[in-house]
Amino acid sequence: MSIRSDSAPPASVDGATLMSVRDLSVVYRVGNRLVRALSNVSFDVMPGRALALIGESGSGKSTLGSALTRLLPRTAEITSGSITFNGKEGRVQLLDLSSEELRRFRWRDCAVVSQMAMNAFNPVMTIQDHFEDTAAAHGLRDKAKIHDKAYELMETVHLDAKRVLPSYPHQLSGGMRQRVLIALSLLLSPELVILDEPTTALDALSQRAIIKLLRRLRQQLGLTMIFISHDLSLAAELADDVATMYAGQIVEYTDVFSLFDKPKHPYSVGLIGAIPDLSADGASLVSIPGSPPDLVSLPSGCRFHPRCPLSDDKCERELPLLVETEPGQKVACFHWKDAQTLKGSDAFEGRNS
């Protein structure tokens, strides 16, 4: 496999970032096949901001989320790159940490709220037990203090502590479990919280409640957050910055307002047009032809070119790099200046792959 090293080296990390990812590549070995889940991904997370990693299935967003806390399964291998965390405790290189150091890093510095709210719990432990267990794993054994903290966190996420703390996970609704997980992630006051599909499995009104809660938590606690989602509208609600992912790469990285006002990657244009919303009275939705590529046999050149109405010979041959077009805005497309011409529901039509 070829590893390009065109991205900035880790040494150029600016002191202001909380987390810096440079040139990160992850592969899964399945039999004798190589699944290239993540290819040369670089980005920064600024303290106090919320970054959304948006992509469809197979875009590499969940692999990236797991890689950030080194929670990848055994079949995965990090083949290049670095992850630097620059928190209260000083600067650490995540890929150099021992498993004991990693264990301490997780939850204390960076907590993860995983996707399946039910699977994240031990079904035979009460919620109170979960708080004690998590605290004990990080050396905190003062039960009265933990109990007080759990009470306080339950209030923060608008749950009735008296009722919820003695309950077992199955006694709670999906929305309540998600709020408990968020409370639990805050137990050790982490600087960064990573939320994997925080609203996906929930009913419409519970989704709204979680979005409101997360927005409030950001205001109150100044938390830095990374959301991983397939849902661009979650980014519109919650994110400051958005990284759009496609086939294992970041194809556009920009602040959320610029993304929705003037998306620069044809894929982002298509995704935004595919959201049915209130203003689209019976109007046609954009549909992007074809489907995301197989990560075992990726297309040549730009990975989006078989589905892209702007693609030409160059796109077939060369892989566009993520380049800065304006301060804070990056796009990986040779034709980004023409991306605006793709607005309208029929722009993607007449192309089949």
Binding site: G175, A204, E237, I275, D281, G282, L285, N352
Partner: protein, 329 residues
């Protein structure tokens, strides 16, 4: 002429240790020939049971379901077989609804052979190719001999739609048929299904938890909003979604995603619901089931009387809502 499908006060209960579970109650609606009805609701609202009853897979405990003016629970033998051919169900999960050891060709050929819809092998192959073209799997020869595991989720769902079309149905029940596929694929699936409606005149019962998808799909048809087993609002989609009257529908509309971060952040915080969680179906609140979450709750009536669906007074169309508080305002 009678409507294609008509539900008349349909009810379905299941026995349980805590007593009978009322999964759906007093559900009435009609779907015209070539019409579209979207049924929207959160988990436990009874939308899937409604679909199964419409497909004749579950019998109503009370009430009647008419198909082409005839009671479907009376169908036997050849009548039932004919009904089964005219009504098709597309499931949510194309990963489990396709037989993993059958190629696309085998999957599509089976019903064609079973119902003797083709005369010979040449015609069979021709028909299968034609079906693949209809669902935008082009060129069809690329897909004929593929197994489900070789297809993406969106492609599998297209095969499931093609299979439903083998028997030239008049009526398709699509139960969360697009909720498992990615956004970029979802709109092309929706557009393909809409084309079947417009070009082939197939009527749809479109079941979804997502009001924005329902609204898009049934813009020219009707929408029924369900909550804990009952329809709380029913009528032409533009009215139900743009002039929503029931506090629950209004909350659903307010929870719709907007693809503009400025609007998303400034969005009015009205229509706030008391609790974000749907009560358990084992313990449906008395009176109006929505009353514990309702911003318009009036003690003494909402928690006592079950509201009936009634026409919105000023509206001349068939827009109905089950909320006396809204209706008397």
């Amino acid at each position: 002429m009678s409507p294609l499908v008509e539900f008349r006060s349909v009810e379905r209960t299941y026995p349980s240790r805590q007593g009978p579970l009322h999964v759906i109650r007093d559900v009435s609606f009609t779907i015209e020939r070539g019409g579209i009805l979207a049924v929207v609701g959160e988990s436990g609202c009874g939308k899937t049971t409604t679909g199964k009853i419409a497909a004749g897979l579950v019998d109503p405990s009370r009430g009647t379901v008419l198909f082409d003016g005839e009671n479907i629970s009376g169908f036997k033998g050849p009548e039932l077989s004919r009904f089964r051919r005219r009504v098709q169900l597309i499931h949510q999960d194309p990963y489990s609804s396709l037989n993993p050891v059958r190629t696309v060709y085998q999957t599509l050929a089976a019903p064609l052979k079973r119902f003797r819809l083709v005369k010979n092998r040449t015609e069979l192959l021709h028909k299968v190719r034609e079906l693949l073209l209809t669902v935008d799997l082009t060129p069809p020869d690329d897909y004929l001999y593929k197994y489900p595991h070789q297809l993406s989720g969106g492609q599998r769902q297209r095969v499931a739609v093609a299979r439903a079309l083998t028997v030239n149905p008049d009526f398709i029940i699509a139960d969360e048929s697009v909720s498992m596929v990615d956004v970029s694929i979802r709109s092309s699936l929706l557009n393909m299904l809409l084309r079947l409606n417009q070009e082939l005149g197939v009527a749809f019962l479109f079941i979804t938890h997502d009001l924005s998808v329902a609204r898009y799909f049934s813009w020219r048809g009707k929408t029924a909003v369900m909550y804990l087993g009952r329809i709380v609002e029913y009528g032409p989609t533009p009215e139900v979604t743009r002039l929503s009257a029931h506090p629950y529908s209004r909350a659903l509309v307010a929870s719709l995603p907007v693809s503009d971060p400025r609007v998303a952040r400034l969005r009015a915080q009205d229509d706030e619901v008391g609790s974000p969680d749907v009560p358990s179906i084992q313990n449906i609140p008395p009176g109006c089931a929505f009353h514990p979450r309702c911003p318009l709750y009036m003690a003494g009536s909402c928690d006592r009387d079950v509201p009936e669906l009634m026409g919105m007074r000023e509206s001349e169309s068939l827009h109905q809502v089950a909320c006396p508080v809204v209706l008397t305002r």
